[in-house]
Symmetry: C2
Subunit: 338 residues, 2 copies
């Protein structure tokens, strides 16, 4: 059932007003604030219709209307008008992009998370590139002092992982080099999680000498392949507490507790579709704690592969247009910078 143009305008007005006021909006308010050329009574009738078709809700008989989830959904899909980014916002994004090369990748991602939350005033969840999905680029083994060394693993996405290992005292320099060269040859270009235990076993049987050293080094590689540490960066956790819907301490607690469970959040964000921006409104979220929140989720690329996920978490009455524009712009710039 399609909505009349007038109903759409009214719905739009209700959503907009509620997004800013967080108070149920009445017919009089709409008539005054939005010049629709209609009297409160007419608006009342239309709102009653909108309620019947499920786009609006009434907290109680004598209160104004509040958008329902369906109302928000319709707003996001059809009513929302794109907004332009402010100069400051663009500047903030460009600033961190410029500094990208100077930082380690994790710091860079943390920056992204901070900027997002400070611009939006919501909470940002950013997953960085997952080492598991990165490709083996190079392995180096340094001997630091007699008996001790450092194995260093470098991936194409810029990860540098290291692990201190013990080196047999009797080990010859050339022997070590030969071994490292062999490992590099064997693993080069493979994504870390495809370096399976069978491949590792094969390598081990090829290099039957130096088992101790080898084991420790291979552990580094194996860990990288298995590691769940698609590390999460949270930004502006406290922002969301400013929302009037968080007046209840229990809600605060359960949400904050959730924030400490990285694994859960990862599975949540991980399910983002690899193209475009996804808006999850209230109940559309899978997690109980998010049922009265909304999220704008998207993935971004590094080296042309889908590597990370960005999510902005806010109240259901979040400023969808602003958030979407911002995220869209950021991802565009991230991807293009390759």
């Amino acid at each position: 059932m399609a909505l009349s143009e007038r109903k759409k305008r009214i719905l739009q007005a209700v959503v907009r007003d509620y997004i800013h006021s967080a108070e149920p909006v009445g017919s009089r308010t709409i008539a005054r604030r939005y010049s629709l050329g209609l009297s409160p009574a007419t608006i009342r009738n239309e709102m009653a219709d909108l309620e019947e078709s499920g786009y609006l809700e009434q907290p109680h008989t004598s209160a104004g209307r509040v958008p329902s989830q369906r109302g928000y959904r319709f707003y996001v899909d059809s009513l929302m008008e794109t907004v332009a980014l402010g100069k400051d916002e663009v500047a903030a994004v460009e600033k961190i992009l410029k500094e990208r090369r100077e930082k380690e990748i994790e710091q860079f991602i943390q920056q992204i998370s901070r900027v997002l939350s400070s611009i939006t005033n919501y909470t940002s969840l950013v997953f960085g590139p997952i080492i598991r999905k990165s490709a083996f680029k190079q392995l180096k083994v340094l001997s630091l002092e007699p008996g001790h060394g450092l194995a260093i693993l470098i991936t194409d996405t810029g990860f540098v992982k290291h692990k201190s290992i013990s080196l047999p005292l009797a080990l010859e320099e050339r022997e070590l080099e030969r071994m490292v060269a062999y490992l590099n040859h064997k693993f080069y270009g493979l994504t870390m999680d495809t370096i399976t235990s069978s491949l590792l076993k094969e390598v081990k049987s090829d290099l039957i000498n130096n088992v101790g050293l080898l084991n420790e080094t291979l552990n580094l590689i194996e860990d990288a392949g298995r590691s769940e540490d698609g590390k999460l960066f949270l930004g502006g956790t406290t922002n969301i507490l400013n929302q009037p819907e968080f007046r209840d301490v229990n809600k605060v607690r359960s949400l904050l507790t959730l924030f400490e469970e990285e694994a859960l959040l990862e599975s949540l964000l991980g399910s983002a579709s690899p193209t475009g921006i996804e808006v999850r409104i209230g109940e559309e979220n899978k997690l109980e704690e998010f049922k009265d929140l909304s999220m704008v989720v998207t993935t971004y690329q590094v080296v042309g592969r889908n590597m990370g996920t960005i999510g902005i978490l806010g109240p259901i009455r979040m400023e969808y247009a602003r958030v979407i524009t911002l995220v869209e712009y950021l991802v565009l710039r991230l991807n293009s910078a390759g």
Copy 2:
């Protein structure tokens, strides 16, 4: 003015009861729950005295008594009895200590923070060894691919910092080695923050070739010396929200916001005396947001030097005895493990 033995026992009872109930405790309660062999009336009289001398307070005329800050202070200084650690608690501490070598230092510290908060049910703040105060051990420069390399800095405390650098294409292997050897020779054993810019300048003028490469590498070292990132690990942030004194969302927010300001917290914890355990009760804390909280603070050592700080943050009515015992034990074990 010294307190009579009986007053001490009553004060002790009040503190203990309040620590567990968080409710003002009345004379009747004390008479019933603690077998002091006294009637409520007698206890009432004593409590009135204790109030007059500032050890107890009354929220309002017809409520029970609550320990004042002075009361807690006296309790901590003279009344508190040491408690034994539970088996589980010892086991949990030993477990992470055992896994120490397998982890990078930062992960290890995070573990400590987690264990502390889960045992105490309070919030733990743990500062790791500060790279700034660690000593230069070794510098390595790897050439990864034409034009690109990786500089690696290793400190005596187990930090491994790296930075990708660009290598001049024309650079000869031997030239690079010579330079790195020189830097190692120059810096070995110095704490990072004593590697001043004048020393760096000196090095630069000694090695007038390869300025670009040199600059990037020295940046790594300089950053390490200046870095404020005595990184903070927070554990159990939500624990503290379970305390009844955090029923107010504004309080929650201001505390959580504070938790995001690492620098502030560092300065706060940093001022811990380098010996023994310090208990800061309420107003004794410097930070406004901590005025109605208490902290148990201490420092721990790595390689025999004071390197990190541990703080447990809880309500003023925290279980001082339990927390102190736990922290004492942990630090003892940390220090002894060298």
